[in-house]
């Protein structure tokens, strides 16, 4: 039986490309992936150009996730010049999780194990792009067609340019059949672990211990967290008395903001136009700065982030999320007393509370 092999004479791309870059990774000589679609490079329109690239075109077509790469082939007499590599690609296509076992080679020649450096092996693993994973071949097939199969290592080394990526040399060796890719460190560890677990039946016991360990850790963490929350609020506070005398009713004759307690007590006494006397906290409800009262504009304005409040404390501009808070205010005889221990919040409807204002 006469030996024949296929050679690609025409490549084209059908609609439906998802521009995943896999084909350009597999065969950059022919495919060029643009923003919108994948193109065949102009020089690759000729059969003479594509014939020597047959294996990588086939790899690209197999690796295309949407199968839009099509090609025509002709049968050619004789052994394919890339015969060794095709087998290698097939070998690499086998799942490498099982320790990187390649198939038996024709002629009984077993390529040596890949570069022993785990960093190189790791690079080889990570060099795959998502698209070319399906083909299983090495992502970088540098000049695989120009080198004779099973070329001496020196020839490969000389053929790889100095400025090529670090994994190019090993990838080329894999490409020409001088080496087969070794399993990545992570995969071999995982495989060994699985094998051991299968032999000893330890896996399920480890899982129980892990569950217990994590459960215990979570339980301890939750307990400590629950205990810590008791420290968030101080149990003892040393504060000056919360009640102070604000003066006589006659001290607030006009509708105005009285600022005499701003510094000492952080309270504005405001006589509103509806003749309610209220004690407004000077703490901005946004981030706790102290706003300024601007009589001309009749508003409180915070210098930190620009929150603005009307004279009655309602927030109307800037980021403050709620109105200023009122303190308790009451009359002791005709003396106005303010108790800062009480807070009345408008958004909770507490300003209707009779303790939050004094009618004049």
């Amino acid at each position: 039986m006469a030996t024949t092999h296929e050679q690609v004479v025409k490549v084209w791309i059908e609609p439906g490309c998802i521009v995943c870059d896999a084909c350009e990774t597999d065969c950059p000589e022919v495919f060029e992936v643009t923003e919108e679609t994948c193109l065949i490079r102009p020089e690759a329109k000729s059969a003479d150009f594509t014939k020597p690239l047959t294996p990588s075109i086939q790899t690209a077509a197999e690796g295309c996730p949407v199968d839009v790469i099509k090609f025509d082939t002709v049968e050619v007499e004789g052994e394919a010049p890339w015969a060794g590599q095709e087998e290698e690609a097939a070998a690499a296509g086998a799942p490498s999780g099982g320790g990187g076992g390649g198939g038996a080679k024709k002629g009984g020649w077993e390529p040596p194990e890949g570069p022993p450096d785990p960093a190189w092996a790791g690079l080889l693993e990570t060099s795959h792009t998502s698209g070319s994973r399906s083909s299983g071949g090495p992502a970088v097939r540098v000049r695989s067609t120009t080198l004779p199969a099973k070329a001496p290592i020196e020839a490969v080394t000389a053929a790889v340019p100095d400025d090529a990526p670090p994994d190019a040399l090993s990838a080329t060796m894999v490409g020409v059949g001088l080496a087969r890719p070794s399993a990545s460190t992570a995969e071999s560890i995982k495989a060994k672990g699985e094998e051991k677990a299968r032999k000893t039946g330890v896996g399920s016991r480890i899982r129980i211990w892990l569950l217990l360990g994590w459960g215990g850790l979570l339980f301890c963490g939750a307990t400590v967290g629950a205990a810590l929350q008791a420290f968030i609020v101080p149990k003892v506070t040393k504060e000056p008395p919360s009640i102070f005398k604000a003066g006589k009713l006659a001290d607030f004759p006009d509708v105005a903001v009285y600022e005499q307690f701003k510094g000492s007590q952080q309270v504005w006494i405001v006589r509103q136009s509806d003749d309610k006397l209220v004690a407004l906290s000077t703490i901005c409800t946004h981030l706790g700065c102290i706003p300024n009262w601007w009589p001309g504009d009749a508003k409180f304005k915070c210098p930190c982030h620009g929150s603005g409040f009307y004279m009655n404390g309602i927030n109307f501009e800037g980021p403050a999320p709620r109105p200023l808070e009122r303190h308790r205010i009451y009359l002791d005889g005709d003396t106005v007393m303010v108790d800062k221990a009480y807070l009345y919040r408008e958004e909770k409807g507490q300003w209707d509370d009779a303790n939050s204002y004094v009618m004049v």
């Binding site: 998802i18 400025d163 601007w294 210098p303 930190c304 620009g306 980021p319």
Partner: protein, 412 residues
């Protein structure tokens, strides 16, 4: 990205860059033209009129929308052109003259710039500008080399160096230089200490340290727990997650823009526009009562522009007083019903928009990254986009909060 189309295929590609450039120029001219024609903005024929002109144009809704953002986009699209020394050096000289020359023509600007607090701002501006030019220049050269199939700038170098002595010596030299600069700085410029804190009269404006001015600017637009806790946390998780989300193997160990435009655009937008530009805003444009002032405007604390802020729920339910927006039925009693429009909008924006992006314009990215990586990235991306959106809405529509639930201390 230029490509050679194969024979038989139409080789015509629209001149995108020219069109984008023209659109940006027209866009940037909009405020100037409209304000000169329809407004009372003076033509800058004298220094005083130039100052007023600049003040009017530097209000944030104009300057960020029509000036900084187009400039940022232009810097990104035309990075191969402006990074050429023949363009970049004159640009730098013009900016330096404008930046320091303004001290001569205006006392207020001089007062801002000569504050010891603000010396780092000048260093940051020139440092960031120089480093950005340097990186973009190398990226431009590399991208051109990649296009022509030439080796990279970094390609022929051996990138492995020894820890001792190469790295340790470099670090030692850096320590010595940095210490020397700090010592000289602290001797020459007195620390800007002020009087003890006084609850009766906090400083007006009260400014954060310069490096937090961007955060302080964010706090103007968001609830404190949002701008102070959630968004900074998302900045940090985004920065941590970025390398794990990035599946593009290109650009490792060399500068490039064309091979990874999205992530570089993202990073630059987050850093340059949302951090550096906001620091500049906080330094030069924020005055007393945290109002906006032009760079040449005296800081008169009694100037108080009114800016009543309105919640989205007000816009939606109460619209009849608000220029005809909304239903005009009044706010519902139930707080959940009241805030339903804002809640729907927020959920759709933060979680619906990423799904939409994955199905449409970012489909390719979604396929490459996988669902988990993509949605992690996309949620951070849209929330980063919410920042400028909220700012612009505050400036233009005086929008206060999308969701306003003071009952639960939840505002967004």
């Amino acid at each position: 990205m230029e490509t050679t189309a194969p024979a038989g295929r139409s080789t015509y590609r629209p001149p995108w860059r020219l069109l984008i450039g023209a659109a940006l120029v027209i866009f940037m001219a909009i405020p100037i033209v409209t304000m000169v024609i329809f407004g009372d903005v003076p033509m800058p024929t004298s220094i005083d009129k130039f100052k007023e002109f600049t003040n009017r144009l530097s209000v944030p809704e104009v300057s960020l929308t029509f000036f900084f953002t187009p400039l940022f986009v232009a810097g990104f699209v035309f990075y191969k052109e402006w990074t050429k020394p023949v363009v970049a050096i004159p640009l730098g000289i013009v900016f330096t003259i404008f930046y320091f020359g303004s001290m001569v023509i205006d006392a207020n600007y001089f007062a801002i710039l000569e504050k010891p607090d603000n010396v780092p701002i000048s260093m940051m501006l020139f440092g960031t500008g120089f480093l950005m030019w340097w990186a973009m220049r190398q990226a431009a050269i590399n991208d051109e080399n990649i296009r022509q199939g030439k080796p990279l700038l970094e390609g022929s170098k051996d990138d492995k160096v020894l820890v001792w002595p190469d790295l340790v010596y470099t670090e030692l030299i850096c320590i010595v230089i940095a210490s020397a600069i700090l010592v000289i700085w602290s001797i020459v410029l007195r620390a800007p200490l002020e009087a003890p804190a006084n609850p009766e009269g906090p400083p007006n404006p009260s400014k954060a340290p310069w490096y937090f001015l961007g955060l302080q600017e964010m706090l103007v637009y968001f609830d404190p727990w949002m701008a102070g806790v959630v968004l900074p946390t998302m900045i940090i998780t985004g920065l941590i997650g970025m390398p794990y989300c990035d599946t593009n193997p290109k650009g490792n160990g060399y500068y490039t823009v064309s091979q990874r435009p999205f992530i570089i655009f993202n990073w630059m937008f987050g850093f340059i526009v949302l951090w550096v530009v906001l620091i500049v805003f906080g330094t030069f444009l924020r005055g007393p009562n945290w109002n906006f002032y032009g760079p040449y405007e005296p800081w008169d604390a009694s100037i108080q522009p009114a800016m009543t802020n309105i919640n989205l729920s007000d816009y939606f339910w109460n619209g009849e007083n608000l220029a005809g927006f909304g239903l005009g039925v009044g706010l519902p009693e139930n707080m959940w019903l009241r805030e339903l429009p804002g809640i729907i909008f927020t959920l759709a924006f933060c979680f619906g928009l990423p799904v939409l992006l994955a199905r449409t314009v970012m489909r390719r990215m979604y396929l490459q990254m996988g669902a988990l990586r993509f949605y992690f990235m996309a949620i951070h991306f849209v929330i980063m986009g919410m920042m400028p959106l909220k700012m612009v809405l505050r400036w233009v529509l005086t929008l206060k909060y999308f969701i306003y639930l003071p009952e639960l201390n939840f505002n967004l």
